[in-house]
Amino acid sequence: MPLLEATGVKKIFGKLTALDGAALTVGENEFHGLIGPNGSGKSTLMKCIAGAEVPTQGKVSFVNADITAFTPTERARAGMSLKFQITSVLPTLTLYDNILLALQAQSSLFDLVFSRTRGLLHDQVMTMLTQFRLANRAFDAAAALSHGQQQWLEIAMALACKPKLLLLDEPTGGMSLEERRVTGELLQPIKKHCSLVIVEHDLDFIRDICDRLTVLDQGKVLASGTVSEIQANKAVQEIYLRRA
């Protein structure tokens, strides 16, 4: 039984059909790449999975449960975590607080009111910040970060929720080749306990870290399979030659 299974997802915005029966299946500990031209519906599919958009039609199941009607909160509690394409950190809070906020999300109200997990989480916050090379900015407001640094922070926040399934929408936007490579390295270790869906335009990067790929085009799945299968796929090569 796969960890995540989205089938027949349809999303209509007014006249536009952004998703037209798209499907996505992600197994345990699988890194899954989602690629496709601009406007093909990748972000929309991610949002439908995380609950930011309500699909017009279709079904999403996660850890053997139908979560189509779940709110984002419930999905997050079930073990999903999303990094948006457009960074949305909490601007006036410090980096430390941003991460702590993500880390403590699952604590009970009682624990929160009496700050019972604070000491425990402190180390984790600092470790995360250190990993993402933000430790020295820990007490600056998140708004004072450059765009790329905010991307780092968002990835860290998404990871801090300790998800079973991590959804990353273009995490390496605005990063140089080298920075991408480091991001890839940071993501590798989570494979032990977590699956990943990642949207990316950089095929080299995707190829390096993903096990399987799904290609979207105009809201439909064009192909899905292992990296080498996709690379060999005629239809996929086709769209990569076609101009948008």
Binding site: V113, S115, D123, N136
Partner: protein, 368 residues
Amino acid sequence: MPKAIGAVKQAVPAEISGEQNVAMVEHGSAGQAGSARKILPIVEGVVLVAALLAPLVLQDYLTVFATRVIILALFALSFDLVWGYAGIMSFGQALFFGSAGYGVALLARDLDITNIFLVLPAGTMIGLTFALLLGGFLLLGRHPSSVIFVSLGTLTGSYAADRLARGWYYLGGQNGIPSISSMTLGSYEFSEGPPFYYLVLGLLVVVYLLCRFLVRSQFGLALAGLRENEQRIAFFGYKAQHLKAIIFAIGGAVAGLAGSLYAFHEGFVWPNMVGVVVSTQVVLYVLFGGSGTLIGAVIGAVIVEGVSFWLSDNYREVWPIILGVLLLLVILFRPLGLISFVLGERERVGSFGGKSRKTAKEKRDAAP
């Protein structure tokens, strides 16, 4: 948390900390916050001492006036809690204040209940209940509620309550309920004067400390996240709307406590007390003093009330205009309120990570 500090030192390998930006950015905010840490308790201490000594130096009628101001400060605290920390714009805070006032007034009038241990909890519960009802309607639901919606919704609630009170004969209509008997403790009657003052001050201190504890806790951090971006933290798994409703209800309870004290102290309740005028007044106190600091709310209430009192004595015909000008000047030049004269932005917003802050700074200073 000494253990934590040790941990940081291990957790930050030297080659990574101080990697970049260290040389180029002289981060003012951290340093500022460091000193602000010390300022807030000083401000709180000064205010407390001043409040404790006040009745000794003030004339009788001024002590009575000060009691009233402290009750209003308690009321202001309730608003700061919901707006300053959770970002819920309650333009109808008077609804909870006033309905509790009316509630205890009715208890005293119709049931002859004036025992302090009954009326104050009753007032608090009334505030809590009304806040839960209104908050439940405005804050919960499918659509996340915008600040403007909540502010107009609460405003409307307060407006409608005012209308209702004016029209409802049982509540005395426009004339309100006069001549409420004094609050009692056994056979002792709390009439206006120093004992009432210290009672109210004591309650204010207790509530203040509770609020302070709450907003400095991890729960407070969740509130801050809520204020910044409710939808975002929902994706972390917070039940954002529940948090909002909870803090709104707590705010309502505090307002209710203040309202019941007010009713007994002033000896009457009237429709304005649930209405828009008083609702706006409390917003004024908090923004004037500086929202999101708790102490700012207290200071704001004291100064606004004090200044109006003084102005109405000395510039009898034009004092509302002068008050307006003063307000405008403060808002223009101190948009974060009077408290921002002494407290830095970081302290106002609040932040966590406790003592490790210093560690990080040391690290940075130590870096080449």
